[in-house]
């Protein structure tokens, strides 16, 4: 017998595709980066912290957000790169708070540096935002145990939608799986706690999929 609470809707697996859109804002130096960051749309802030997960990336990237990468490789400011790299977007309740943190770090560095740091003319920081298209896969999961088999088959777009995009959709910044398991009663609190400890910011989508799958396998079928 399936161990599902009655009246709980099945989990609908969705998928998504992102497309990048230029904002036209380009920073040549640290001051411009700070000034644009103050006003740029929050979608652009989101894109430069999280969008990299769906862009070309390797298992061990040097830095996890575009601001830190640009500081290191274009401004050649290691100190700033390290300070920016440590920002964990998960820690902020809203993108606006995340933006404030970013601007504060940039402000602090401008204050410390006697001369503004410049990048080469063909190496500007280009502010980009994205549009997301979300679609149904028509696959559903009714029993949490079935996730053990379903998860490895989910596309990286699905993983992004349910585990990354969900963080800005759901109250308390939690992923869709934890929301759904939470509706099933207290039975899955252990799994939910383990899933809460997964830090998606420091994983590729592939790694995230594997890590979640391992937790479910251990907790639900072990």
């Amino acid at each position: 017998m399936p161990s599902v609470q009655k009246n709980i809707d099945p989990f609908l697996i969705k998928d998504c595709a992102l497309i990048a859109v230029a904002t036209g804002k380009k920073a040549q130096n640290l001051r411009e980066l700070r000034d644009y960051s103050r006003d740029i749309s929050l979608d652009s802030i989101y894109y430069h912290f999280w969008g990299g997960l769906l862009r070309p990336k390797f298992d061990d990237p040097e830095y996890h957000n575009d601001f830190a990468l640009w500081a290191r490789h274009s401004l050649h400011d290691k100190i700033l790169a390290e300070r920016l790299a440590v920002i964990d977007p998960n820690e902020f309740k809203s993108l606006e708070e995340l933006r404030q943190e970013l601007v504060e770090i940039l402000d602090e560095r401008i204050y410390e540096e006697e001369y503004p740091l410049w990048a080469k003319s063909d190496d500007q920081f280009e502010f980009i935002r994205s549009q997301i298209v979300i679609f149904n896969t028509h696959h559903t999961v009714s029993d949490p145990k079935d996730f053990v088999d379903a998860l490895p088959k989910m596309s990286l777009g699905s993983i992004f939608f349910h585990f990354i995009d969900a963080l800005r959709r759901n109250p308390d910044s939690i992923d869709d799986l934890r929301v759904w398991l939470g509706r099933q009663g207290k039975k899955y609190q252990g799994v939910i706690s383990e899933l809460a400890a997964v830090d998606p910011y420091f994983l590729t989508l592939n790694q995230l999929r594997t890590k979640v799958a391992n937790i479910l396998k251990e907790k639900l079928t072990g």
């Binding site: 998928d15 595709a17 992102l18 497309i19 990048a20 859109v21 230029a22 036209g24 380009k26 979608d43 862009r55 070309p56 390797f58 063909d122 500007q124 280009e126 980009i128 935002r129 994205s130 549009q131 997301i132 298209v133 979300i134 679609f135 149904n136 896969t137 596309s155 777009g157």
Partner: protein, 414 residues
């Protein structure tokens, strides 16, 4: 699954093709028209030859039309092309008039088709002025710019801009290449076709055949640069890097493979400089290959240990993508689209000088295992990011975005 998608699934993965099918499922029956200036030759035609049947197979009613003109039209559009990349060319009014008339005539020929298209994708400047003749157009029009517009000659861009501003959106290959426009600017990098002769797997014998044909010793290391003889590709810098490396690897061989470029006086001058720089060294092979020598270049890439693209200025650099697809690490110039493909210690190395290139050649030749790892990563990197299937996915996503008036989040309900 129908045959063509099936073939791509073998290279890109079943999941990628399934993703495309799901994404396209709500776009079935949509009328999409591509317009460019030629069906033969050039990267745009090459991509459309595959993109159009793929879109058709996914259920979109896709067609491909071409703008045809007389010699003055092509003189004008060639000048556009050069001016948009920075050459200060003043185009006579007579030629501009010819450009506008050719667009006007083509608009009559294509009236029904373009008037009723749900999405019209107009490639590059040649057909850009068509939009002026469709004030009552039904669908969304997108201008797809394949050119690096980062530093255009202003007078020419100002002229073309008045057509481009009427579009609902435009597409550039990289953010760096884009100009400010009063509509959304989408960023879609180009792609390679794994089924093209340039990129298909070759029989071992065909790869080995190039050793004999070009007098290359298969038992000694070989490095290669494929590009036309152009100063921006820095072939002299490549030879200098080779010379430095040869002190440490006396058996090293260098192959420079480029086109003849008989109508390009500067190309001829660069070629002479290249020959002079390499004079007296039999281990440097300077090849002049015809434009359709795709399989030969494919074989040379597969026969080489390392591939260089030491450009000092570059557009996207699809030769880098093609090299990476053959499991080869690439030493590339730190410029343009090479930067998004060559990732230090992952898919190759970015360099700024012949010395930098020589240092990385030495590093890789001393670390064969690392070279193999990087080559394998390069191949996967291309598979995930620069195949035509990704290009198609982004076109489909763009079509949704246009249909939904460019909202940031589009949730499909079906």
């Amino acid at each position: 699954m129908k045959p063509i998608l099936e073939k791509y699934a073998q290279h890109a993965g079943e999941d990628v093709v399934e993703h495309l099918r799901q994404l396209a499922s709500s776009l079935k029956g949509l009328k999409v028209v591509h317009v460019n200036s030629t069906r033969v030759g050039g990267g745009v035609a090459e991509i459309l030859h595959k993109m159009v049947p793929l879109m058709q197979e996914l259920g979109l009613e896709t067609s491909w039309e071409v703008i045809n003109g007389d010699t003055p039209f092509y003189q004008c559009t060639k000048s556009f092309h050069n001016a948009l990349q920075g050459d200060r060319i003043n185009i006579p009014d007579k030629l501009l008039k010819e450009y506008e008339q050719t667009n006007q005539k083509t608009s009559e020929i294509l009236r029904d088709k373009l008037q009723n298209a749900d999405v019209a994708i107009i490639h590059d400047p040649q057909p850009a002025a068509l939009i002026k003749h469709f004030p009552e157009r039904k669908g969304k029009w997108v201008w797809r710019c394949h050119i690096d517009l980062s530093r255009p000659y202003r007078a020419v861009w100002k002229y073309l801009r008045k057509f481009v501003t009427d579009y609902d959106a435009s597409i550039f290959s990289l953010s760096t290449f884009a100009q400010q426009l009063p509509h959304p600017i989408y960023l879609i990098p180009p792609s390679i076709d794994p089924l093209h002769d340039k990129n298909i797997d070759l029989p071992k014998g065909e790869v080995e055949e190039v050793y004999g044909r070009f007098n290359i010793d298969p038992h000694r290391p070989m490095i290669l640069q494929v590009s036309r003889y152009d100063r921006f590709k820095d072939p002299i810098g490549v030879i200098q890097a080779y010379k430095i490396s040869k002190k440490y690897f006396p058996g090293l061989q260098l192959v420079l493979a480029g086109g003849g470029a008989t109508d390009d006086p500067e190309g001829e001058a660069v070629l002479n400089e290249v020959r002079a720089e390499a004079a007296g060294d039999d281990d440097v092979k300077i090849l002049l290959l015809p434009g359709d020598a795709h399989r030969t270049i494919n074989a040379l890439q597969r026969a080489s240990h390392i591939i260089l693209q030491k450009s000092v200025k570059e557009g996207f650099g699809l030769t880098v993508t093609e090299a990476m697809w053959k499991h080869r690490p690439v030493i590339g110039g730190d410029t343009g689209g090479i930067r998004v493909q060559v990732i230090n210690y992952h898919t190759g190395f970015l360099v700024n000088t012949p010395e930098g290139a020589a240092f990385r050649i030495r590093y890789l030749l001393n670390h064969e295992e690392r070279m193999r790892e990087m080559g394998a990563k390069a191949k996967e990197f291309v598979r995930e990011n620069f195949l035509i299937t990704r290009h198609l996915r982004e076109y489909l996503t763009l079509i949704y975005a246009l249909k939904h008036n460019t909202k940031d989040r589009i949730e499909l309900t079906s």
